[in-house]
């Protein structure tokens, strides 16, 4: 049996593969089956929209051109989805992880350790854990920098961070170097990352729960937050 063609075909080829899929794939799948996957509408309903709204204030003419509906849930959803698609297409996820590990001081550097629930949504399909960090982790990036910073940074990263090795993305801008639809979408997406946390924004002393002095306390809390 073990040296026959059918043995190799059935036991090794099929049975062991299925076994591994059950153990390594189906098992985690079943563990989260009751954790509902949030749709884009859910995300937008819970989402913090003010960075998107600020783009509309900063670039009123361009924003009106690219998002004619104005700052609505629909246009926010559209920008998020498009920003995510650009994030995938440009392979941002190959140099930026979206996952805080509970080791190596990562919670001190980036913020609260990642929780499985955070990935149960359509914008993590397929999941964007990432396997390499040439640049910083981005899962807590929302509101870490201002929209202005991102507008300058996506255009020519070294102008903002001289040691940066991030590529330039001039095609996110129109002829007058204002962010175009793609530019506004990717900024909206990046600013959204982490905005679902109670601690948001983690890095700045403003926004729903923020105060500058609270920073250290939050770090301590983060270490025990599941």
């Amino acid at each position: 049996m073990f040296e026959s063609k059918s043995g190799v075909f059935l036991i090794a080829g099929l049975f062991f593969f299925v076994l591994s899929f059950v153990v390594m794939g189906l098992l985690p799948w079943m563990m989260y089956i009751n954790e509902p996957e949030q749709t884009l509408e859910d995300l937008v309903a819970d989402g913090v929209i003010h960075e998107f709204a600020e783009l509309a204030e900063k670039f009123p003419d361009q924003f009106a051109q690219h998002f004619p509906d104005g700052v609505t849930r629909n246009s926010f959803a559209e920008a998020l989805q498009r920003g995510h698609d650009i994030y995938v297409a440009e392979a941002c996820w190959h140099c930026h992880s979206q996952q805080i590990r509970p080791v190596s001081g990562e919670d001190l550097r980036w913020g609260p350790v990642s929780h499985a629930r955070e990935y149960q949504n359509v914008l993590q399909r397929p999941v964007l854990f990432g396997t390499r960090r040439v640049g910083p982790d981005l899962i807590r990036e929302g509101a870490r920098h201002s929209n202005d910073w991102h507008v300058a940074h996506f255009h020519t990263p070294v102008n903002v961070v001289p040691t940066s090795v991030m590529p330039r993305y001039p095609w996110f801008y129109d002829d007058d170097d204002y962010p175009n639809r793609d530019g506004m979408s990717i900024i909206t997406y990046v600013q959204w990352l982490g905005s679902w946390l109670a601690e948001y924004p983690y890095y700045r002393g403003e926004g729903p729960s923020g105060d500058t002095l609270g920073h250290v306390e939050k770090v301590t809390e983060a270490a025990v937050t599941p």
Partner: protein
Amino acid sequence: MTAASPSISKDVSNVSLNDLVNEKLVLWHFIASLTYVMIAMLAGFLFSLQLLQIYPFPEMELFSPGRWRMVHTNGVAYGFIANAFLGALYWAVPRLTLRRVLSVKLSWFIFVAWQVVVLSTVVGLLTGYAQAVEWGETPIFIDPLAVVGLILVACNFLTPILKSEGPMYVTLWYFIAAFVWTILVYAMGNYIPQFFVGGTAAGAIAGLFIHDLVGLFVTPLGWGLMYYFVPILLKKPIWSHGLSLVGFWGLAFFYPLNGIHHFLYSPIPMFLQYGAVIATIAVELVVTTVVVNFFLTIRGRGDALRTNMPIRWFYIGMVFYFTTCLQCAFQVSLTFQKIVHFTDWVVGHSHLVMFGVFGFWIFGIMTHLLPRLMGAKGWYRTAWNEWHFWLTGIGMLVMFFDLTIAGLVQGFMWRDLAVWEATLTASQPFWLLRTISGSAIIIGQFFFIFNILMTAVYRHSIEPNSQSSGVDPVAPALAS
């Protein structure tokens, strides 16, 4: 269907190998393979320039470094390795089974279809249609064609294998399993995380896919080809058939259970991570069987390393294989993962596996077969093969150590909460050395390709030399 009559296997001496093997198919798959490896290396070179802040085309969307990074990895897996393996399979399977593949027309169709798959993947990635599955970035609309192609490949090769009689040589076990696995792995990795499940569970499946692509597609075909070519080139049987049997079943059982080790300390449940770590360490023991079998087969024939270029490629590839697997046994531990995950250490590891091991074995097979496939008695310049070997080998070795040390520097700086920008500055010298060693590898390939071209041009006037063995034993003699 043009299968040979059953009586053929009764009388091996009457079999004409020339009727069995379509050498043009082998040659064209090798040409495609070498074309893609040059494209993939160009892509890797371009991306490495970005890390040095000297990228030449910063304004051009089609030359965005991130997109070329995906061309690099996909080009190596589906362009370079898949094509080279297909070529080698068209050589080895008919010889091991004494039967033709299912159909020559189908074979040529597969050849064209596969190049369409790879080329459209490259175009798709460059125009912004990547899928967010590492190593499965192939655009969603190309995936069905790739799956159909893989099914046709399986039909084409399984037909002669399943028809052959008598005991099967171990190479064929690996091939049978690999054909089944590759289809399943590709379909699983490209469809399930996209359409059936999201989030953390999809991460587990994506990890399974990354690992299975190496473990269930590249590894079994690579091992199978080693078990075929090494005894033939050395003109002696493998050291232990029993050990190869243990290696096969060990691989089949343990290798697929490794997937989650790509995402240790992620939100994936910890008990599954522990399971993956233990299975991975078990794989290192399995790997040892093939390494031991190889080194004990070659024992007493050390002279072949000097005189026989293919054996030298196999040998250094096997040394790298042992290195990379030993490294993996440490790297997979939770202790190492704290520091090395997300760093260049892992990049060095994957380069050593995919290029230093399987790439080197492929170069060995090509060095062995190409002159004959082109109708030459030997290589135009054996010295250029030496240049190919030494530039590629030293380049690979330097790149591996460079990236491994870079990974440690990055990992410890991160742990010590160094400012992020400082870790970039610290990486710069390592990235410079990586570009230099990568350039050495590319120059090595130019020697090889130029040698191939000159051999093709002067194929009628070349005298036989040691680096193209005229060895042509009938394979089943080894399958005892």
